[in-house]
Amino acid sequence: MDILSNLALGFSIALTPTTLFLAIVGCFLGTIIGALPGLGPSNGVALMIPISFTLGLDAMSALVLLTAVYYGCMYGGRISSILLNIPGDEPAMMTTLDGYPMAKQGRAGDALAISAVASFVGAFLATVGLALMAPLLARVAYQFGPAEYFALYMLAFCTLGGLGSNNQAKAAMAAALGLALAMVGLDKTTGMPRFTFGNMHLFDGIDFLVAIVGLFAVAEVFFFIESHGKNSAIGVKLGKLTMPWKDLFAARWTMLRSTLVGFIAGVLPGAGASLGSFLAYAGEKAIAKDKDTFGKGNPRGVAAPEAGNNAAAGGALIPMLTLGVPGSGTTAVLLALLLTLNITPGPLLFTERPEIVWGLIASLFIANIVLLVMNIPMVRVFVYILSVPGYILLPGITMIAFVGIFSLTGSSFDMLMMVAFGVLGYVLRKLDIPTVPVILGILLGNHMEDSLRRAMVLSDGDWTYLFSSGISIGLWTAAVLGFVAPMFLRHFLKKPQTPAFATEHMADHIADKD
């Protein structure tokens, strides 16, 4: 019963008054961030990192706060999907399909309650899955040498790009762009500057937090101005709140099935929560006897995507923690957090710093329960916050982004660079080039180069060494498949049109931004 004693260790760390308080704050902020249209989980977590860092929180507290924000976002996204027909974040897109029709029939309260319970089931079971599977995967990851890691990074880029973009050339472009930016700075092995053009600010390389906040949050400012803020929420109505026990009971198998589908989608590198919720909804609709009621306010059409996306959010933590390879945009941001805190994820994390891993898992369980309590009786608070008009909200978010970066580095150069990344993010998304691979490239570029060079040291420059073990051949095969197969599968994976997203820029990337 290794896991139980590990969990006990985790809870003994996570159940202190401070961390409990941080979990509650994180859940609250996360739900708000998730609920506000245009401010998704990766945005939200990215904005919070510099702030939690300058607060001087220790590693465990920062992790608890940020993962609570992460789970909170996944819960929050559904609120605006149901009430406004505008997904609060990308993974909540599928929830609009049945959530909004239910709200129009005067069952907004029921839809919110069902989706909250479905979110809880999905996230809770996924966290159990994380606790069970992560140590197993960590044991496999022990056998990874530099060649295997290099292949694994290739796999992450290929599947993330392949699934997340509609055009393979653009996916490759995005990943290479990120990797190219990661090369800026002093070369670790030789100590020689690369691509710094003599600028002292660039000797340390490009701070990935600057890039993340720029590409996600500042780019969003430009999109918001362009759309004249017409997605800001006005006039939200919510009827009486009761627990729809009957619907919940009827949807019990839906939730479990969707949790499984979402969890698997989350564990796969590159798939992420959006794909999880999409597959869960599509699967549930395919096996339902009353297919024609889906899209017209079927409670199971609300339960499926919510269980799916929250389960995927938990599943996505597995590759991030055990291999150091994030499976989605938000877990990439969480990886950035870990690296900032000087924690290197990977199999060694499980043996050398078990308190971090199990404390994190325990805090996820706590966050889940806090979120369930918060989201059923307190949902009115969030609905109220949703009615903050865009002309206050957007300047506020922009200024918070600047303060975060400024307090982190205190330099105007980094703020200017953040603005530059904002422009880059705007142009890339306009051109339908996914931005998540860019982030992943900046984050992993140096590790990837390092593993290539170490592999070459081991083999004395023999490139065939990269394909010399069974594990690496398997990873390379999966990478090629993950990149090429979506070209043929795209035909089948067409998303149904969701009304609010037909005009929305975020619509185009399945795996982007979740």
Binding site: I51, K170, A175, A176, F222, Y391, P395, V403
Partner: protein
């Protein structure tokens, strides 16, 4: 079509510049078998190939903003750049009030709510960040604060 082609063309030049710059990286006698240049070469190559692919097979264009919106976006960009450069010398409150106010006005062109938003955010965020979160912000121009 045009967007992809222009971007592809720009990226071809960027990739060539990157490769050229990579060729100029100095290496030391202590280097490993492949040295600091090979990985950048590979990356530059991938950018080059995907840029050519974008040039040859462009996707249909997105709706690019018209000139009025474009002017607004350019103004926003200028505002953010000015803000980034002025927070250090001028302190937090005044630049934040102006930047937040102008952003607010751009979303909803009503002067009074915009001015109130600017003032409220400038002072409110300062109080929150400085006293509730304890970040080291400077309120007013350095010259005034001594």
């Amino acid at each position: 079509m045009r967007g992809d082609r222009i971007f592809g063309l720009v990226m071809i030049f960027a990739a060539l510049g990157y490769l050229l710059s990579a060729a100029g990286i100095e290496t030391s006698f202590l280097s490993d078998p492949i040295g600091p240049r090979v990985f950048p070469y590979i990356i530059g190559g991938v950018i080059l190939v995907s840029a050519v692919a974008m040039l040859l097979q462009p996707d249909p264009d997105a709706d690019w903003p018209r000139s009025a919106t474009l002017a607004k976006l350019a103004l926003t960009l200028a505002l953010l750049i000015l803000y980034a450069m002025s927070v250090r010398p001028l302190g937090f409150i005044v630049p934040t009030m102006i930047a937040a106010g102008v952003l607010s006005f751009q979303i909803s062109p009503r002067p009074v709510p915009a001015a109130l938003t600017g003032a409220g955010l400038g002072i409110g965020l300062f109080l929150v960040f400085k006293y509730a979160l304890g970040l080291g912000l400077v309120a007013l121009p350095r010259a005034l604060m001594g």
